[in-house]
């Protein structure tokens, strides 16, 4: 039991911290809510993984990528707003999932379960999250400039398409990792809440970015510990610790 909680904590802190860090970029592009629908897109993948007993993160990742490609193709073809297309694709995903996922397994898909993470899953989560962190750190200031103005970034000679593509792939990966922890319904919160809280209390970029990362990591830590003590599900508790920190940040808003 002691080993299990260490595994959960390690995976949770790495995923939560990286999600918070990436979220600090997504907030700036009014993209934080996109992670929500993308989280829903993972549901058919999670359902398949649960039914056939393979890795949930892998199933989730494949379906997020599939969803993004679908949305992108529809956008080129129809020129409908991205939000509308995202809604169409993700609600279809949810609908398909509940046609064939047994109800007793629905909870894991919807609100996640980091407390039963296996050693190999934990190792993969740590490696992937660390890799994401280093890619993000290297591209962070470029991504901030792209988010502020693609024109300015291009006039600085930056390859904006490359940045946008990497950005999208990073989002897909973090959603797939986050789904293991808090489920398809709650992934948006993992990226949106830490960044929002950090923004309330930051006056400069470094405080904001690392603040979001630390808030994400701390929320996972306490959420998992509280879950262990209370025997309530960890996913919702992680989100609620995030919410609590956000409320504190509102009080101390600069």
């Amino acid at each position: 039991m002691g080993n299990q909680i260490l595994l959960s904590l390690t995976a949770g802190i790495f995923i939560g911290g990286t999600a918070g860090y990436l979220g600090s970029l997504m907030l700036s592009k009014r993209m934080a809510l996109v992670a929500g629908p993308l989280g829903h897109l993972t549901l058919p993948g999670i359902a398949l993984a649960l039914l056939y007993g393979f890795n949930v993160t892998l199933g989730a990742f494949v379906f997020v990528i599939l969803g993004i490609i679908l949305i992108w193709l529809f956008e080129i073809k129809t020129k409908l707003p991205m939000e509308a297309l995202t809604a169409i694709v993700f609600s279809s995903g949810v609908a398909v999932t509940f046609l064939f996922l047994p109800i007793e397994q629905a909870e894991t898909a919807l609100v996640g379960d980091i407390s039963r993470v296996t050693p190999s899953e934990a190792v993969i989560s740590v490696i992937v999250a660390s890799f994401l962190f280093f890619v993000l750190k290297k591209m962070y200031s470029g991504m901030v400039l792209v988010n502020i103005s693609e024109d300015l970034a291009k006039s600085e000679g930056m390859n904006v398409r490359k940045y946008n593509l990497v950005y999208l792939v990073l989002i897909a990966i973090i959603v797939a990792l986050g789904v293991r922890m808090v489920g398809g319904l709650l992934t948006a919160a993992l990226v949106a809440i830490p960044a929002s809280a950090a923004r309330n209390i930051s006056g400069k970029l470094a405080h904001y970015a690392f603040g979001a990362m630390i808030i994400g990591a701390i929320s996972s830590l306490f959420g998992i510990v509280f879950a262990e003590i209370s025997e309530l599900p960890s996913g919702p508790l992680i989100i609620l610790v995030n919410t609590f920190i956000f409320l504190i940040s509102v009080v101390f808003k600069r």
């Binding site: 700036s28 901030v144 502020i148 024109d151 930051s202």
Partner: protein, 237 residues
């Protein structure tokens, strides 16, 4: 070609020939040709929707186009956009904003000084600046790494200029100090007359071109802004 002509030809910073820009199958700029010499201040004048900003962005290489745009080789451009609506989404200090362009603190301080700010401005939050201050910061940002040409897009909304020096006086001073060539989008006729060596009047196609006193006739202004406009002048004070 005699020697003087050859020297002049060498002095060209930009040559534009038969430029066409189409956005969503609408011709925004049609068959535009002009040249810019080193040290010129070119104003680009025209009504809303005339393609002024599109022209500036095309010259920067941001939009697909037909025709020729030839910058003098190796020349560095600085771009001052009209506005940056998303910048306030992120908590950025002035110093952070300059770091995005890899400007080191020493260089940033010098540039801030040259647009009239003291060092303590480095720590200010971008979101807390007035629009006039932000305008200056954008100009300063464009000046990082000493460009020879400045492309300046005037905001459509008025700027509060509470300081001693207007943005145009600032640009005029920077031009002298740094030997800049300037291309400037404006709606303001007084800026055109006071400040520019040449004006490009644009309303999808070229309406007039040349030194303002010659190019801006009642006839060309009518073509540019429509019948009802007899004289069109803003005050910026």
């Amino acid at each position: 070609m005699n020697i003087i002509q050859a020297m002049r030809a060498n002095d060209f910073v930009l040559k534009v020939k038969n430029l066409k820009v189409r956005i969503d199958s609408e011709n925004i700029i049609d068959n535009l040709s002009f040249q810019v010499k080193s040290g010129d201040v070119i104003t680009i004048l025209g009504p809303n929707g005339a393609g002024k900003t599109v022209l500036l962005r095309t010259l920067l290489g941001l939009l697909p186009h037909e025709g020729e745009i030839e910058w003098k080789s190796g020349i560095k451009l600085g771009y001052v956009p009209q506005r940056l609506p998303f910048i306030k989404d992120i908590p950025l200090s002035v110093n952070d904003f300059f770091t995005l362009k890899k400007s080191y603190e020493k260089e940033t301080k010098d540039i801030l000084n040259s647009v009239g700010f003291k060092e303590d401005f480095l720590k200010k939050k971008i979101g807390d600046l007035s629009s006039g201050q932000f305008q200056r910061i954008l100009i300063a940002w464009a000046l990082v790494r000493n460009p020879q040409v400045l492309l300046f897009d005037e905001p459509t909304t008025g700027i509060d200029i509470s300081g001693e020096e207007t943005v145009y006086n600032l640009l005029a001073r920077l031009k002298q100090e740094r030997n800049l060539t300037i291309l400037l989008v404006t709606h303001d006729l007084s800026v055109v007359f006071k400040f520019s060596t040449d004006v490009i009047c644009l309303n999808k196609h070229l309406v007039c071109h040349g030194p303002p006193q010659k190019a801006l006739t009642p006839e060309s202004l009518r073509q540019l802004f429509g019948e009802e406009v007899k004289f069109y002048q803003h005050r910026h004070d």
